[in-house]
């Protein structure tokens, strides 16, 4: 299971990678593995203002539909519309081509409340036992 240490994670299995004043968001390798093949994604409108913890979309797999939660507050400045027709990228490249939204942070201090790779790994391993 891949958990790169160049980004932060939420307990709801989103990753958040800082890019200047923005944060790129996707779901973790563990999350895509749990969901199974993704078949549909619900993305937010660009310009939508999110508060940390808001549901910003949904991911549907052959098993289930799961909500996506904003790891930080801010404005949605871009969404990855390429994955709408290539949902397999969320499975095959969860940390790169399978990114979901880009948020311009309104409160960068919220990043401190997220998990680092080690802490996230611990949560995932506990859940698997």
């Amino acid at each position: 299971m891949l958990i790169p240490d160049d980004r932060k994670y939420s307990v709801t299995h989103e990753w958040a990678k800082v890019e200047g004043d923005k944060v790129r968001v996707g779901i973790s390798d563990h999350a895509q593995e749990e969901l199974g093949d993704v078949v549909y994604l619900d993305l937010p409108e660009v310009g939508r203002i999110l508060s940390k913890g808001d549901v910003f979309g949904a991911v549907e797999s052959v098993k289930a539909v799961s909500d996506l939660y904003a790891p930080v507050s801010g404005e949605v400045v871009e969404t990855n519309t390429d994955i709408l027709n290539h949902t397999e990228r969320v499975n095959e490249s969860a940390y790169d081509e399978g990114w979901i939204i880009l948020i311009r942070m309104s409160d960068p201090s919220e990043l401190d409340g997220l998990l680092d790779a080690d802490a996230y790994r611990q949560i995932v391993e506990e859940a698997s036992h």
Partner: protein, 489 residues
């Protein structure tokens, strides 16, 4: 697309020009040209219909039917679906001409017996529910959920209560519950399951407000556990002026033992095709029945069967507060006949035994496979047990692989990955109609599969091996479903 299995070419692929299944009689009336009657522009020269003999067609469908799996061919422990045996005597009764050869447009006085059966079945189901009355009309469970929520909406409208727009639903609920609530225009709010598998009461208290229209609960829950504090839960909802809905999908655990109405529920649905042994799905139609307390009776769908002066049965349309018509005529009558025959055949004591044995069978499985597949919650379960295949992860094997491998052992897989709150869930519901021998064979297969996971995980990951087709591409089936034959494909 061409052949979907080597054994079964499509009918069109076996077509031979000019071959006929029937020979028509010699024409003994004046002939007219089709072009004259229909208009030449409406005629096609080419019509790619298969041309086959009667025997070709019989063999085609007989061969397909051999690939079918049903409760009549094997054990079907599909959790939450109550795949019990459907006694043939009920089909036989429903096929009697007095039931099968009548028409809903016949005058009432010529179908008094049919109306009496429906009226009495309503009363029996209301009694089993512990409620005032019932309607047999809904086509199945999800239909019954939607209609019940419409009645709840009508109830608040009638009382002039505005702003009750939220329906509370536990995270373990059937997906139809939030879907029905959303379809009806309610906002859905999720209630978490506590660590013991029951509803988290503090979470429920915090969520209840004057905006709550209803709480939808499945009891026993989809975790196969009885909500032990159900009376308190209903009381909390009522204190806030909200109604409580019982998803009766799991009534097989409670028949003749406990009644939702006595627990405090205001409205519930039964699935006749689960609890009362009428056929499922394609063999159906299904049967949803709604039972209600007095407060919701004025809103029942029309027509309502009434028993005038204790003599004459009739269908009443004139109900000022009704939510209206929800089904053609009065629902699926022959499904009602089967359910009536089932209940009458078993009697009150027999129904109680159904529930007792359903619960016993589930617990037998729970205990027997506990080392290989531990139950998600340790307590005694009700009519079904939710176990986890999480222990096999260290071999790279998932619940889905276990399910697929069970097919090789001749069993229908249990429900998997539901409820979502249990990792690698397998939800096993044996029902009361299975023998100890069948349960033993099934448990041994599961235990054997857990050994295979250790010794040869690839065997599971590539299962099933003994079916005409192995794993289907589920993703493509969702995203690119194409069930149409075309010559170009």
């Amino acid at each position: 697309m061409s052949r979907y299995t080597h054994q079964n070419p499509l009918l069109i692929e076996g077509s031979v020009p000019g071959r006929r299944g029937v020979r028509t009689a010699t024409l003994d009336v004046p002939a007219h040209s089709l072009g004259d009657m229909l208009g030449a522009e409406n005629l096609r020269r080419e019509l790619p219909m298969p041309e086959l003999s009667e025997l070709d067609v019989v063999r085609h469908y007989t061969s397909l039917s051999h690939h079918n799996y049903s409760i009549d061919s094997g054990f079907y422990p599909l959790g939450s679906c109550t795949m019990k045996y459907n006694p043939k005597v009920n089909d036989r009764i429903a096929a009697m001409p007095g039931y099968s050869r009548i028409h809903p447009l016949q005058p009432e006085e010529t179908v008094q017996g049919a109306l009496q059966i429906m009226y009495e079945l309503q009363a029996m189901l209301a009694e089993i529910a512990g409620m005032a009355t019932a309607t047999l009309q809904p086509a199945a469970g999800a239909h019954a959920e939607l209609l019940s929520l419409m009645m709840i909406q009508a109830y608040y409208r009638h009382r002039g209560e505005e702003g009750r727009e939220v329906v509370l639903i536990p995270d373990s609920a059937h997906g139809t519950n939030p879907a029905s609530a959303a379809r009806c225009g309610f906002t859905v709010q999720t209630i978490k399951t506590g660590s013991n598998g029951n509803i988290d009461l503090s979470g429920l208290k915090a969520a209840l407000s004057t905006q709550t229209a209803a709480l939808m609960l499945t009891n026993p829950s989809t975790l196969g556990l009885f909500e032990t504090r159900i009376a308190e839960i209903c009381e909390l909802a009522h204190q806030r002026g909200a109604l409580v809905y019982c998803d009766g999908a799991n009534m097989n655990a409670l028949l003749g033992i406990a009644r939702p109405g006595d627990m405090g529920f205001d409205v519930m649905h039964f699935n006749l095709h689960k609890t009362f042994s009428t056929p499922h799905g394609g063999g159906g139609p299904g049967g949803g029945v709604i039972a209600v307390q007095r407060c919701l009776e004025p809103f029942l769908p029309v027509p309502v069967i009434i028993h005038k002066d204790g003599r004459h049965y009739s269908l009443e349309e004139d109900r000022p507060h009704t939510i209206g018509r929800i089904h053609s005529f009065y629902g699926a009558f022959l499904v009602a006949v089967r359910a009536y025959a089932y209940i009458a055949g078993l009697g009150a004591d027999g129904l109680r035994e159904v529930a007792e044995n359903a619960v016993l069978n589930a617990n037998y499985i729970r205990a027997k496979i506990a080392e290989s597949f531990p139950a998600a919650f340790p307590q005694t379960c009700m009519h079904e047990v939710v176990v986890s295949a999480g222990g096999l992860r260290r071999h790279g094997v998932k619940a889905l692989d276990v399910s697929k491998r069970l097919i090789d052992y001749g069993f229908h897989p249990p429900t998997n990955y539901f409820p979502l709150t249990v990792p690698e869930a397998l939800m096993i519901e044996p029902t009361e109609t299975e023998s100890k021998q069948t349960l033993d064979t099934f448990c041994e297969a599961l235990i054997q599969i857990s050994r295979e996971a250790e010794d040869d995980p690839e065997l599971l990951r590539t299962a099933p091996h003994h079916t005409p087709v192995s794993r289907l591409n589920e993703t493509a089936a969702v995203k690119k479903l194409d069930v149409r034959w075309s010559t170009g494909g």
